[in-house]
């Protein structure tokens, strides 16, 4: 009688397979593409609306970058939803038990899921942000205020990183809450209601994830105490990593 073949994988191969599995799940979720496509379309419609407002002179600026990115504040809702869907689709119908049977190392699986999400949202965020700016620049044409290419690249990079990190934060919160509806309500309530109001009334709010993230791309007030884009990026990354680690610690211990 021969002993059963125990195929041992190297850690690198295990990680690569986990990433491929998570990528395949994310890509085969119709919600992923519907959310990203819907966000792109809504963002373009809003960008057109802002551009028309800009042509009428009610935005106070003629910069194609500022007007083209103004719609991102609303389009981020799509990236929040995508992050939540990625995490919570596992908990609809018990797919999580299959996932964890196939990938028993939870830390590896959790990391692979967030990595796969990052690989999808970074290009998507870049396309969303750039399309809005290109559209605005095209419509404004010669009437646009001149901007340096460094400013354009900085703003686009900031927006892309902001949207991707927001999506990762949303996925972590989704994994914590495990219910799509509750996670969407909590996150959108924070990003659209609590966050903006706190920014208006308290000074520490600029260090919170949304305040720090806005500093990465939003033209900040000329204020010595304002968060610079680099500091904002660092703060938001720190928030994201801290949140993912915090949820991961819980995720390894919970029953599923």
């Amino acid at each position: 009688m021969t002993a059963p073949m125990t195929a041992t994988r190297s850690h690198g191969r295990e990680a690569a397979q986990a990433l491929a599995a998570e990528m395949s799940k994310l890509a085969s979720l119709p919600g992923t593409w519907l959310t990203l496509g819907g966000t792109l379309v809504v963002n373009l419609i809003l960008a057109i609306a802002f551009t028309i407002a800009g042509l009428q002179g009610s935005t106070g600026t003629r910069s194609a970058v500022d007007i083209g990115l103004a719609s991102i504040g609303y389009a981020q809702a799509g990236f929040v939803v995508l992050g939540v869907l990625t995490a919570c689709s596992e908990h609809v119908g018990g797919q999580i038990r299959t996932t964890l049977t196939a990938m028993p190392r939870r830390a590896l699986q959790f990391t692979a899921k967030h990595l796969a999400l990052a690989m999808v949202v970074f290009p998507a965020a870049a396309i969303t942000a750039a399309s809005g700016v290109v559209l605005t620049a095209g419509v404004l044409g010669d009437t646009a205020a001149p901007v340096t290419s460094g400013r354009v690249a900085g703003a686009l990079g900031g927006v892309t990183a902001y949207l991707a990190l927001t999506s990762l934060i949303s996925a972590a919160v989704g994994a914590l809450v495990r219910r799509t509806l509750a996670a969407v309500v909590v996150l959108l309530g924070y990003f659209f209601i609590a966050g903006p109001l706190l920014r208006d009334h308290t000074a520490v709010a600029k260090y919170l994830p949304d305040g720090a993230g806005f500093a990465m791309w939003f033209p900040a007030a000329d204020d010595a105490s304002a968060v610079t884009p680099a500091q904002g990026a660092l703060l938001l990354t720190a928030w994201t990593v801290a949140l993912i680690v915090f949820v991961l610690i819980g995720y390894r211990r919970w029953d599923m």
Partner: protein
């Protein structure tokens, strides 16, 4: 009547409805506490003499997020598919077996949502106004007879918003999209407000018209709409949307 009782019982047993209730009461009162305390410090520094007439009412316009959640989950919970392990069923099939007339089912549900939301709005306005008066003390704007129709306007606005959310969710049969769109539009600077910058017609969108029932001064107001007209415009929107929802709901497979 029994259909209404059944719908009320379903609403009361949904945890998400209680979350909506908590959000509806806490969001406006906490925001009111923050803004009122900053107003108070301005007043005591002598920068302003009295708080604006919209103290409390502005905050109640944000608290409508509770009404949105209530309207959305009331119907999206019917379409929520159970996991395959527990049969993969949906509550809507049971509901329509118990109440086969689709119109009666929908009317009962609409009534239950409207009643629950009216109760929520009354509690939330009471709490928010209480917070404003406690924090501002003697600087608070005096409550008089003309606040009665304004508070009635708040209740109206909340109920209508819940019904709008409800009507959209009947059509989408999924909670995430209406929640995302409607909550994003409750933001400090709403999409509909930005649209008014482009065309004055946007002032007649449901939320822009509806808030005029109780908010007296909107920033950069270009069009004068009386509270009554605002209310009627919003009523028309809600009526049209609910009729579309009812037609779709009675004619398609559940």
């Amino acid at each position: 009547m029994r259909a209404l009782a059944a719908e009320a019982s379903k609403l009361a047993s949904l945890p998400a409805v209680w979350i909506a209730m908590a959000a509806g009461v806490l969001v406006p009162s906490v925001i009111a506490a923050i803004t009122a305390s900053s107003t108070r410090s301005t007043v005591t520094r002598g920068a302003a003499t009295v708080a604006g007439a919209d103290a409390g009412y502005q905050e109640l316009a944000f608290g409508v997020v509770g009404a949105i959640i209530l309207g959305v989950v009331a119907i999206s919970s019917e379409y929520f598919t159970e996991s395959a392990e527990s049969g993969g069923g949906r509550q809507i099939t049971t509901s329509l077996t118990a109440v086969p007339s689709r119109l009666r089912f929908l009317l009962a549900k609409i009534s239950a949502v409207a009643i629950a939301c009216a109760v929520l709005a009354i509690i939330a306005s009471g709490t928010t106004m209480g917070v404003v008066h406690v924090v501002l003390g003697e600087h608070a704007p005096a409550m008089g007879v003309d606040d009665v129709p304004r508070l009635g306007g708040v209740v109206c606005y909340w109920v209508y918003t819940a019904l709008l959310a409800f009507g959209i969710t009947v059509l989408t049969r999924h909670a995430v999209i209406p929640l995302a769109v409607l909550i994003a539009n409750t933001s400090v600077v709403t999409v509909t407000y930005l649209l008014t910058k482009i065309t004055p017609l946007a002032n007649y969108l449901p939320d822009m018209a509806g808030v005029r029932m109780f908010v007296r001064r909107l920033p950069d107001d270009t069009v004068e709409i009386s509270p009554l007209t605002g209310g009627l415009v919003m009523t028309a929107w809600v009526a049209v949307l609910l009729v579309i929802a009812a037609v779709a709901f009675t004619r398609r497979d559940a």
